[in-house]
């Protein structure tokens, strides 16, 4: 059993190890036949060139900006909405609930074409707004948080209301702290999804300066021809942050993704 597990893990790690190995080789050694895991002059030069070139860092910066903006906005608007739907009644509440369920059914892929047309119409194509705003609409997250708020005993809240706290106060200083684990799950899930999202950012921006990392890496070419070591170094450099985060926050991430 253990042998099987080790073999399977090795198969899964070899592609990454091979990418790293290539990134450490001098360019001239990358296409040598027969293939070898060792080459003269292995170094971190390719990574250095990626840093010096700057594109990858700029794309990672955009990914970070977009990821944080989408996550912050999503947590803010979905928790507000979930609280409102869980604890208050207003005219049209059932319509909103029905819309939520319907919205979960709409695959983002069917929206790319009209959304692009909308962005062009609004003059937002090729802006950070186009990258961020449509990614904030995650009805499933409202649903998850509403379920959580539904489970919070009403007595807690009523005590606070008796003390004269307004709805917003209750939401802010009572419910949000209680919901911290659920909010963390939503935040992590949103951030990971946004960080790795490809299709919409690929459609939303054409300007290489605005591209997120996955889009830039796939779209922009080196004008010096193919440099395998450098390209793989860039890929690893951009792929690593989330893997490192995973190592640091394994447990929380696992809960978030299960949610």
């Amino acid at each position: 059993m253990r042998a099987l597990a080790v073999v399977l893990a090795a198969i899964w790690l070899i592609p990454l190890a091979w990418a790293l190995d290539t990134a450490l080789k001098p360019e001239s050694e990358t296409t040598r036949i027969p293939v070898s895991w060792f080459a003269d002059g292995m170094s971190l030069d390719a990574f250095g060139r990626v840093f010096a070139d700057g594109d990858v860092l700029a794309w990672l910066g955009n990914s970070l900006l977009v990821g944080i903006a989408v996550t912050a906005l999503t947590v803010a608007v979905t928790s507000l909405a979930a609280y409102g739907l869980s604890r208050t009644w207003f005219r049209g509440r059932s319509v909103v609930l029905a819309l939520l369920i319907a919205g979960i059914l709409v695959p983002p892929q069917v929206l790319i074409v009209p959304l692009f047309a909308e962005m062009v119409g609004l003059g937002l194509a090729d802006t950070y707004w186009a990258l961020i705003l449509p990614q904030v609409v995650l009805p499933a997250m409202v649903y998850v948080l509403k379920k959580f708020f539904d489970g919070v005993p009403r007595e807690l809240e009523e005590a606070a209301v008796v003390d004269g706290a307004g709805r917003l106060r209750v939401y802010w200083s009572l419910m949000l702290p209680l919901a911290r684990p659920a909010l963390a799950a939503v935040a992590i899930f949103t951030f990971v999804t946004t960080w790795n999202n490809f299709l919409w950012p690929f459609v939303a921006v054409s300007d290489p300066h605005l591209m997120t990392f996955p889009v830039g890496l796939a779209t922009v070419q080196s004008s010096y021809g193919v440099r395998y070591a450098q390209v793989l170094a860039a890929a690893l450099l951009g792929g690593l942050p989330l893997v490192a985060l995973f190592l640091a926050f394994q447990r929380q991430l696992v809960t978030a993704i299960k949610g």
Binding site: P34, G84, P107, P114, L232
Partner: protein, 280 residues
């Protein structure tokens, strides 16, 4: 005070309307026009819908999407389950398996495709090199339609099996140990335990993993588009890819919107069938 409830929902609702409802309406409107990429639309009635039902590229890309779904889903589910069963037993180094099996899932698709494109290269590609060393012939991983689909499925399995793995691992850890201890006293072999205890108790997870996987596979675009390279490989084009190409490569926003709507209807049917099955 009760009326204030609406204001909690309002910010989300504004975004929901602006970036979900409005594009749905724009798409429906565009689908009955000849709207192009620069937006000079004329009403054409049902012409786009008539055209798409007779467009061989629509049918072939639906077919490729189906092939991708039915070939990749079982493999991904079984590999994820196998990984979880193996890793669950190996308590001391479980974190290592978690890392190995789950790390690929955290990589952006373009990184995954770059790495696999590199592995699939002729001559200096690691896989073809290994084949040559074993005295076998090189395989043109991306050069024929059939092989390209196989390569796409392999890449997808490597990339996403970790998701099912994680769900299965979590479910396995919730199975009480006593069940196994009791059955061991009755003389059950590990294989019998797997069949009689583990797999039945995982049935909800099976369902979840399969449904999520099927829905994700039907919407596949990224890895097929990127692995196909600059010219694209018409023999593996997915339906979402055809929507993308119709809209942005051939500049036909109206036609692409019509295909989007038909595709949406298909996805909705799959999701509703699933709901019906779950209710039973």
């Amino acid at each position: 005070m009760k009326r204030s409830g609406f204001w909690f929902v309002a910010p989300f609702l504004v975004l929901y309307v602006a970036f979900l409802i409005v594009p749905m309406v724009i798409g429906l409107g565009a689908s009955v026009t000849d709207d192009g990429i620069t937006g000079h639309a004329r009403f054409v009635g049902a012409a786009n819908y008539v055209e798409l039902f007779g467009d061989p590229a629509v049918w072939s890309s639906l077919w490729h999407t189906l092939i991708f779904t039915v070939t990749s889903t079982p493999v991904i589910v079984l590999v994820g389950l196998g990984m979880a069963l193996l890793a669950n037993r190996m308590a001391p180094e479980r974190w290592l398996y978690r890392l190995a099996f789950f790390a690929p899932y955290l990589l952006p698709v373009s990184v995954v495709v770059l790495i696999w494109n590199w592995l699939y290269q002729p001559g200096f590609g690691l896989i073809n090199d290994a084949l040559t060393r074993l005295g076998l012939h090189e395989v043109g991983w991306l050069s024929t339609d059939g092989m390209a689909m196989t390569s796409i499925v392999i890449t997808t399995v490597w990339w996403t099996a970790g998701f099912g793995f994680l769900l299965y691992l979590a479910a396995l850890q919730e199975i009480p140990r006593q069940l196994y201890e009791a059955s061991a006293l009755d003389g059950a072999t590990p294989f019998q335990q797997l069949r009689r205890i583990t797999l039945p108790l995982l049935s909800r997870t099976h369902q979840l993993v399969i449904v999520l996987q099927v829905l994700a596979s039907l919407k596949v675009f990224d890895q097929i588009y990127l692995l196909s390279g600059q010219g694209g490989i018409p023999g593996v084009r997915s339906i979402v890819q055809y929507i993308y190409e119709s809209g942005f490569t051939r500049f036909r926003i109206g036609y692409a919107s019509a295909i989007s709507y038909v595709f949406f209807a298909l996805i909705a049917v799959v999701a509703l069938v699933h709901f019906r099955l779950v209710k039973r």
